[in-house]
């Protein structure tokens, strides 16, 4: 049978073993999280720069358009060419490249909307541009960022697996392609199931509660 039954997929999972699964899941989660954090830091830094300087704002808009137009597959190939197949860096950087435009677009929209809402308050209190940014705008972006992060981390997990599949640094993606290469089709479905469970667990247990918690902060 081309598609293995749930029973044989489950048996494959037990055969793979807890240690190997935990190791691969940890690698994939770490790649995703580090890549997401890189994308987050980059987008926050650019948005702060854009808020304080009109010239940087033009650069940020151009960067955003550029980043959105490049396929993650292209990034994956470029980073593997630069760092090699055994390096841990390509999956992390590919995730960063994939999450960066999502987070940046969301932040740009949030900052524009919050600036409109709070400019009167800033004038009333005589707040400087920096005070407006750090007391009103940046805390206000948290709820927007939480919603964008939920989408970004979901993408990060999927993209991380693709990038791992190209390299040889471990992770769910690596073992999924390895199972395919050796003709272990139950293994392919086992690793795919592990990825699905991982994504649902991360979304339901971490991302969704954070998004819900920060929603009350939205104006």
């Amino acid at each position: 049978m081309l598609i293995p039954s749930p029973t044989s997929t489950y048996e494959a999972i037990t055969r793979i073993g807890t240690d190997k699964i935990l190791n691969a899941v940890t690698t994939t989660l770490t790649n995703s999280l580090l890549g997401y954090l890189l994308g987050l830091i980059g987008s926050i830094a650019l948005v702060i720069g854009a808020y304080l300087n009109k010239h940087i704002e033009a650069l940020v808009n151009a960067t955003n358009t550029f980043a959105q137009s490049i396929s993650v597959l292209v990034w994956a190939i470029i980073f593997i060419m630069i760092f090699g197949v055994t390096s841990r860096k390509p999956p992390i950087l590919v995730v960063a490249a994939a999450t960066f435009p999502i987070l940046l677009s969301s932040l740009i929209g949030a900052v524009r909307s919050l600036d409109e809402k709070f400019s009167l308050l800033a004038k009333m209190l005589g707040a400087s541009k920096l005070q407006e940014l750090f007391y009103f705008i940046l805390p206000g972006t948290v709820s927007y960022l939480a919603a964008a992060s939920r989408a970004a981390i979901g993408i990060a997990l999927r993209i991380s697996v693709v990038a791992e599949a190209f390299g040889a640094s471990g992770g769910v993606g690596y073992w999924l392609v390895y199972s395919y290469d050796i003709g272990f089709k139950e293994g392919v479905f086992a690793w795919a199931s592990i990825l699905i469970i991982l994504m649902i667990a991360v979304d339901m247990l971490i991302l969704r509660p954070i998004e819900r918690w920060t929603m009350k902060w939205r104006l």
């Binding site: 809402k117 009333m124 007391y135």
Partner: protein, 211 residues
């Protein structure tokens, strides 16, 4: 009595549209002024010009004191408690936290919102949020308080107690208060003088001495 605000021939336009048409007005220290006029007459614009947050085209505006401005729409940070919002205003203005807390405690009692200070804006009524906005202005220790449509959306009973609280605040701090409303009866209770604006472009139609 000392003049605290002196406005002469004030003209304000939005593009080609004339909004304030040669307004001349003097306000004495400790006076409570009500500005009444139809919706869209330019009353709020006038208040924002006095607050220094809206530029004007010609004329002069002299203000001999600090201003606390309370806008029509409540603007509180939803991620901070009412107290957090009020103390942040003081922090931005460089007012010592101890001083700000003292002013806050005194005035929260007058406005009867002491029990709500640890709540978030989303957890309190519109009236309480508006009082917190007034506290945000008061914590800056102003000489002049500008209130833009403070009674909008409140029921009659709440308006009456709010009016009494505004009078208490005025007496407690010897404040000069300018309140804008489109309802004359809301202003009669708290004003020494009523300034009536015409339809846009706003001119002073009549000045009524109430007390």
């Amino acid at each position: 009595m000392e003049t605290i605000i002196r406005v002469r021939d004030l003209v304000k336009r939005y593009g080609e549209e004339l909004v304030l048409d040669h307004i001349t007005l003097e306000v004495r220290k400790g006076e409570s002024i009500g500005i009444v006029g139809p919706n869209g007459a330019g009353k709020s614009t006038f208040l924002r010009v006095l607050a220094g947050i809206e530029p004007y085209d010609s004329g002069t505006v002299e203000v001999n004191g600090s201003i606390g401005y309370v806008p029509q729409e409540t603007i509180l940070l939803p991620w901070r408690t009412l107290k957090g919002n009020i103390l942040l205003a003081a922090k931005i203005r460089g007012i010592e936290k101890r001083v700000a807390e003292r002013i806050l405690d005194e005035n929260a009692d007058i406005l009867a919102i002491s029990g709500y200070l640890d709540m978030y804006p989303s957890q309190v009524s519109g009236g309480t949020a508006r009082k917190a906005q007034i506290l945000m202005a008061l914590v800056l220790d102003p000489d002049i308080l500008l209130l833009d449509e403070p009674f909008t959306g409140l029921d009659m009973e709440t308006i009456e107690s709010f009016q009494a609280q505004i009078k208490m605040l005025k007496e407690a701090h010897n404040l000069t208060i300018i309140t804008v409303s489109h309802m004359m009866d809301e202003l009669m209770e708290i004003s020494d003088r009523l300034i009536m604006f015409t339809h846009k472009p706003a001119r002073i139609r009549r000045i009524l001495q109430v007390k």
